[in-house]
């Protein structure tokens, strides 16, 4: 369909205020936090499931691609348009529909911002556990689509472990409910399949999640190291000694200096690495575990372990971590965040490998990651105006992903595949494995109009990353 009649139809469904069509407005939707691709033909802001259904049917009739979008903080190009079409922003579907503290559940629209849900139930002593570092901006719908993790998902599990039910608009406009408030419903676990499907199987219009009780006690520690190797060894030792902290994060010296300059969290400028470790639970358990962890750090040549003495100090430690990407964005014109997973015991050798890759391609690589899960986020610094450097960045990132795969890990732990890594899927999946995934996709999305070009290899660009590596958010 031509653009003008399409906009007319969209306006008829949505009203004028809920449709963007001017080029200058549309430009903002070329991006997510990773990349910029095409300009959408229109952006619409439904407020009800009914509107979503009408939009989906219209798009199906017109054979126009649809890309669902939350807050656009995604880091794999999931919410950007690959070949034109309509962006359906769920940002205005942000009602919390039900809070049932006794059964520890909440039912929300997809546009609810992650922290807003936790805030809404804080008075009752509850919170929503998955906490991506972007939680002040990203939406629960986006979290569901990416199966997002966060620092505290080490102990409590990622999004899929906290989502019990979904309402979903399928590509033919049918609305289904999967799961519900209970831990089990008869039949196949469609909820489990849809979580992490990156908006390619349906648009999520309602989500039922589990709420958790806030723990009675929290202890937050920063362990400071003179050698990176000692920090990574500490991580291995904590895991293998059976201690499960609520969070176990690591930043290398390069990263923490950038963070320190930006947030003044109190990380020592001259150290080689820090671990940010948090334990939670019953007071008795927390003080014991904190002691055990200090002992492990001690055995691994820690320079010092600082405990947060006040809630403010705790918040400051976390602020440093949660704003780390932004802090690096201040010192480098661009950066490329990677997301790979390895078995946690391979951490020390993997860090050495990353360093070697940095040397090989003459790149600055900062390391910041969910160390307890073995989920790495190397940040490759570059200047997008320098074409040669940009190409080296992509090559270096691919090598790091290749190494993750060789070690028995994964090419993404939480940021998703999107358009960034779909051509890398063969690193960890055989053709048969991929074929069955294609089959699932075409069952739900036979016309391929839902978020096209994402997740699975398109075969168009064998083994190359098509993403324009964008500027750091």
């Amino acid at each position: 369909m031509k653009r003008t009649p399409l906009i007319k139809e969209l306006t008829a469904i949505m009203g004028r205020e809920a449709v963007l069509s001017r080029p200058e407005d549309l430009m903002l939707y070329e991006y997510d936090a990773l990349s910029a691709l095409r300009t959408p033909d229109a952006v619409v802001f439904p407020t009800t499931t009914e509107q979503v259904v009408r939009l989906v049917k219209l798009a199906a009739d017109q054979k126009t691609p649809i890309v669902p979008r939350g807050a656009g903080t995604g880091l794999s190009g999931g919410a950007v348009v690959t070949e034109g079409g309509i962006v359906i922003s769920l940002a205005r579907m942000k009602k919390i529909l039900e809070i049932d503290l006794e059964s520890q559940r909440a039912r929300v629209q997809p546009g609810v911002v992650n922290t807003d849900l936790s805030l809404a139930v804080a008075d009752g002593g509850f919170y929503y556990a998955p906490d991506p570092s972007s939680q002040k901006a990203c939406t629960i719908g986006g979290n569901v689509a990416e199966n997002s993790g966060g620092p505290h998902t080490l102990a409590y599990g990622v999004t899929t472990n906290h989502v019990l039910g979904l309402e979903v608009v399928l590509p033919d406009g049918e609305v289904i409910r999967a799961g519900g408030k209970c831990w089990e419903t008869p039949g196949y676990d469609l909820t489990g399949l849809l979580v992490g499907s990156e908006g390619t199987l349906g648009i999520v219009t309602e989500i039922t999640v589990r709420l958790m009780r806030r723990p009675e006690a929290v202890e937050t520690m920063v362990a400071i190291y003179d050698r990176v190797m000692d920090a990574t060894r500490t991580v291995v030792a904590i895991t293998s000694e059976g201690i499960t902290p609520a969070a176990l994060e690591m930043m290398d010296g390069f990263t923490l200096r950038a963070v320190e300059q930006a947030t003044h969290a109190g990380y020592p400028m001259d150290s080689a690495a820090v671990l940010l470790i948090e334990v939670e639970g019953l007071g008795e358990a927390v003080s014991e575990q904190a002691r055990q962890i200090e002992a492990v750090c001690g055995r691994n040549n820690v320079r010092a372990v600082r405990r947060a003495k006040t809630p403010d100090e705790r918040a400051l430690f976390w602020k440093g971590r949660k704003n780390a990407f932004g802090a690096l964005g201040r010192i480098s014109p661009n950066y490329y965040v990677q997301d790979g997973v390895i078995p946690r015991t391979r951490l020390p050798e993997m860090l050495e490998y990353i360093e070697a890759v940095g040397r090989k391609y003459d790149l600055r690589i900062g390391n910041i990651f969910h160390a307890g899960d073995g989920n790495l986020h190397p940040l490759l610094m570059f200047d997008a105006r320098d074409r040669d450097q940009s190409q080296r960045v992509v090559k270096a990132a691919q090598e790091i992903m290749g190494r993750c795969a060789e070690l028995g890990g994964s090419i993404t732990g939480e940021h998703g595949v999107g358009v960034e890594k779909n051509e890398l899927m063969p690193l960890i999946f055989s053709e048969d494995d991929l074929e069955i995934q294609r089959q699932i996709k075409s069952l739900f999305n036979p016309s391929g109009l839902f978020n096209p070009g994402k997740v699975l290899p398109t075969g168009k660009m064998c083994g190359e990353i098509r993403v324009q590596v964008g500027s750091g958010a």
Binding site: D100, E102, S103, Q104, N147, T153, G157, V158, T160, L170, I176, R177, K181, C182, W183, E184, T185, P186, G187, Y188, D189, L190, G192, L193, G196, S197, R213, V236, S240, G242, G281, L282, G283, E284, A285, E288, V341, I342, P343, T345, H370, D373, G374, G408, S410, G413, E414, H415, V417, I428, F429, S430, D432, D433, L434, I436, L443, F444, V455, L456
Partner: protein
């Protein structure tokens, strides 16, 4: 058209070898499903063989039921057809085991017990207490997403499976997920297989997340007096900072069955809440203190069970759905799932409705999870059971829950669907089934909505 017996013989022998296929009554007797006997049982020794068996069966229209230890074959509708038992008992290799990483991968026929024995040496475990664990295999546990009261703290196989390999009716072995604890590459197909009861494909390998065994455990029993008090206790415990490993409500009938095993004196004539605390000594002491305080507030006594007694009791509690039916084959065992807020309300309703029909209820409820196992015994045959279960199912569905049949005489299962009302996702489920098993040979008719 039925396929000739000699073609079947030659086909299976060609895949797994003659000695790995057994025919006829004595060999298959233990593999009956709802009274039906398969023609033969096939024992593959590799993932590829299992896939080839499925392919051959699909090409020849033979209905296959995958079997691990056979501990949960009672779950589901009677099969429409049952020709071949695909038994994974000879696939029990440990594929990788990384105690320091807290991960392992095993073939699906590995028994739960063998696996726990392996882990225990390193102070690790898979924190599950599913019914039938003496016989159960990991593949079967995952296919049934089976769990027990430990679910309160640790969840179910769904929360522990990192990846798997699946044999398909196309004769392929496909992988989903991986070996690491965090992974979002590709669609999470494993979720479809977990709890699919062998109706989509056969799980041949699983990778699992492992956990350290807690230092100590202690069991506390709170007498509840009435279901109203039980509700009050549940609310207080779940609203406290305590993190029990298990938390169940036994009605008076269930307490009477369990208490002797725990070597606790006199029979309880009232519902009880059983709590297991785990962790360090300090955590357990703290739990005791808090429970005593909580109990005092509602007038509930707190009793302690000795170590041996509580271990035996928890085994019995976890295995309730299994032994209850075995000891009285006329009984029904049902599983209700519900929002936790409705546990006591539904139990009271069930007791009342059953009482009207002179049916005795014995129940164990995971009140922090919202899962209730009900054993029903009638005094005049199966007659009142059909309308009773239908009514209970309706009431529970109104509360947002579901009532499934776990074990029942075949005559009952022929009249009442095992799973209940399928939701609006049924069409999608049927499409998935048709894609994975186009010939409909995997446990036909046993699952939700005729799948």
């Amino acid at each position: 058209m039925a396929i000739a017996a000699d073609v079947v013989r030659a086909g299976f022998a060609g895949i797994v070898g003659e000695s790995q296929v057994l025919y006829g009554e004595p060999a298959c007797a233990g593999l009956r499903v709802d009274g039906r006997l398969p023609r033969c049982v096939v024992y593959p020794t590799s993932a590829e063989q299992a896939a080839q068996v499925l392919k051959f069966a699909a090409e020849n229209g033979l209905a296959v039921i995958a079997i691990g230890g056979g501990s949960k074959l009672g779950i589901g509708n009677p099969p429409q057809k049952y020709d071949v038992a695909l038994c994974l008992r000879d696939m029990k290799k440990t594929l990788h085991y990384e105690p320091a990483d807290l991960t392992a991968g095993v073939e699906a026929g590995t028994t739960f017990q063998e696996f726990q024995d392996l882990l225990r040496r390193d102070g690790l475990w898979l924190p599950l207490d599913p019914p039938g664990r003496e016989r159960a295999t990991l593949g079967g546990i995952v296919a049934a997403n089976a769990s027990g009261p430990l679910r309160q703290l640790y969840g179910t196989p769904r929360d522990m499976v990192l990846g798997m390999r699946i044999a398909t009716t196309e004769g392929k072995v496909v992988k989903t997920g991986g070996r690491v604890v965090k992974n979002v590459a590709g669609f999470d197909l494993g979720k479809l297989l977990i709890g699919s009861f062998g109706t989509l494909g056969v799980i041949v390998e699983v990778n699992l997340k492992l956990f350290p065994i807690p230092a100590e455990r202690e069991t506390f029993i709170l007498s509840a007096g009435t279901l109203g008090i039980a509700r009050d206790l549940r609310r207080r415990i779940l609203n406290s900072p305590l993190e029990p490993a298990r938390l169940v409500l036994l009605d008076a009938e269930a307490s009477n069955l369990i208490r002797p095993v725990a070597s606790l004196d006199s029979a309880a004539r009232e519902p009880e809440i059983w709590v297991e605390a785990s962790g360090s000594k300090a955590v357990i002491d703290r739990t005791r203190k808090d429970l005593e305080e909580l109990g005092r507030a509602v007038g509930a006594k707190v009793q302690l069970s000795d170590q041996e007694g509580s271990r035996a009791s928890w085994r019995l509690i976890a295995d309730f759905s299994n032994w209850f039916h075995v000891t009285s084959p006329e009984s029904l065992v049902l599983k209700g799932t519900m929002p936790t807020a409705h546990c006591e309300e539904f139990l009271s309703l069930a007791q009342q409705e059953a009482g009207n029909e002179k049916v005795k209820v014995t129940s164990i409820t995971q009140v922090g999870v919202g899962i209730m196992v009900l054993g029903l015994v009638g005094s005049n045959g199966a007659n009142p059971m059909v309308p009773l279960v239908t009514r209970l199912r309706k009431s529970l569905e109104k509360l947002g829950g579901a009532l499934t049949v776990i074990a029942a005489p075949v005559e009952f299962k022929e009249q009442v669907d095992a799973w209940g009302t399928p939701g609006s996702g049924l069409k999608m489920m049927q499409k998935l089934k048709a894609a994975w098993d186009p010939k409909g040979i995997l446990a036909p008719g046993r699952f939700v909505g005729g799948i």
